[in-house]
Amino acid sequence: MNRIEDLKHKIAKAEAELLRLKEDLAQAESEGQVHVNGGAKDSTWKWPLPATDYERYSRQMVIPGVGTKGQLRLKAASVLIVGAGGLGCPAAAYIAGAGVGTLGIVDDDTVETSNLHRQIAHASSRVGMSKVESAITYLKEYHQAHWFPVPPHRALHHHSLLTRSPLLPLHIITFLHVEQPQYLLHPLTATSLNPTVTYHAHNTRLTPENAESIVSKYDLVLDCTDHPAIRYLVSDICVLLRKPLVSASALKTDGQLMVLNYPASAVGDESGGPCYRCVFPRPPPPESVVSCGEGGILGPVVGVMGVLQALEAIKVVTSGAVDPSPPATPVPASSKPSMLLFSGTAAPPFRSFSMRPRKKGCVACSADATLTLEGLRTGAFDYAQFCGVAAPLAILRPDERISAAECSRRLLAAARGVTSSGEDPSGTTTSAGTPVLLDVREREHFDICSIEGAVNVPIATFLRETATPKVDGDQPLEQRAPAWLPSNVSDDSPIYVVCRVGNDSQLATRRLKEMGLHRNGTRFIGDIRGGMRAWKAEVDSTLPFT
């Protein structure tokens, strides 16, 4: 047995022993609590919360606005987090810590290594696990050794075994009510962040069809999602079911936070708070929607937004706005609708903008609303279509594009001073000049990895600098040679354009031709189909990422 196997074996053995000790501790503690707790069984206990709650929540209960009443409201409240990512992870941790009674999490995604720098509830050991189950595992603080994958055909067997166990605490059984139990968690609670919370796992994507049945079980919703289409859906279902919505988002170093539909008045009631459609009636064009994968995201930026969501959720709940017991509590005047913007690189980093109440004519929440639960259920609202889908860009003809492999061959041939091959679409077989490789990705992408000899002009800069001048008297475009084009290249030097996946490179190629740089066909200008992603697949598998 080699050293690695030996260590793995030792660790597994130690973990099994640790697990057994923790079980014994949990058992001892739960037996001990009957005596110190003074819960329902102790008739001398005369306070509204159990003794352990006073101990656990004392630091927040003395805050004005929380108190015993606020803590009781938290205990009675159920909160739904849609999205277990960079926002949902910290939001869930603080909401669970604060003692909310029920916490539901919806997501259909699985944990990836690239999530871990910001999605703090997940772990390297849980890559590949469903995000919802990983997040709940974190909240219950199970170590890796305490969950184990169960083959589908055995899941039912384990499930029935566990639910029959008389020692199993109630919330574990609740957790197992997942659509498709793939992992079973060990019933160990004494080490968790907050053992009083009941967790509901919704291992699914929120859809118009299931939104009503999921959201209706909760008092308050947190939008921690990552795409416009689902943001409109979350907002719509909250309006229809009259749930306040704490919405946040983050990209790069910026974040946005809003409390929407608060107060959650009936549709058509102008006293209600604005919904997402009131603020953003028109979705951004799909090609302008940037994901964290493309645009990047700094962990603390999305973290601060998720933590702020938890704060807003606690404020909504402790104020009594979702407390069903009379008398009805008015929404505090301080909660006038506003949008908080965070810029991690700005001074000041926070700015608050006031918003209007519900928008006249809003299709979701105004008196003219056309949105209904029935319509949602029957698919009358196509969110994907409303937000549009970025179609694969095809503005260049096939002969204006080359494969990564072919481009690599041409660059190598040129470097060796070999005559360009007859495959050149221009048909020339004469020696072409030194090729120019233009990379239009963002500077940061370029700096991480690039093709040798490439020059970098980010697409936004490129398009701005080459824009058609509107003012008369400016030099015609074709006479202004771009600064990145070496002055000593010949008129027949080909220009190859590359970007991340092959969209921006087409825009840039088209623009270069409009500028007349192809010299009426003397020079080949084309882009690399599939961009750097294709380059990694076809030419250089060592590119660290694209």
Partner: protein
């Protein structure tokens, strides 16, 4: 962005957030005032061709931290951006 400097005399400040900042490669700039609100998008589109369809048509606009409705182009009946005002272009951020 460091603290946004006061706009020079006869100007107002525009703050660009999120994708508006990426497209303009600026976090703020000063534009000549006064400017009818209905002409704001036209003035920005002229500076940044393509900005209207990519950003402005789907963004939130505030003047002095208050939400405003931008009237359609040509409709100058709405508010006028005055010298020293602070306009913010706030596109939706969707990811998280």
């Amino acid at each position: 962005m460091n603290t946004v400097p006061k706009p020079p005399s006869g100007h107002f400040n525009v703050l660009y957030f999120a994708s508006a900042s990426s497209l303009t490669s600026k976090q703020h700039e000063a534009l000549p005032a006064p400017l009818p609100l209905g002409q704001l998008f036209g003035a920005l589109e002229e500076r940044y061709p393509g900005m209207k369809s990519k950003i402005l048509d789907s963004c939130l606009v505030t003047v002095n931290l208050e939400y405003v409705d931008v009237p359609p182009p040509g409709d100058d009946s709405g508010a006028v951006i005055k010298e020293g005002d602070e306009v913010a272009i706030i596109p939706p951020v969707s990811s998280g």
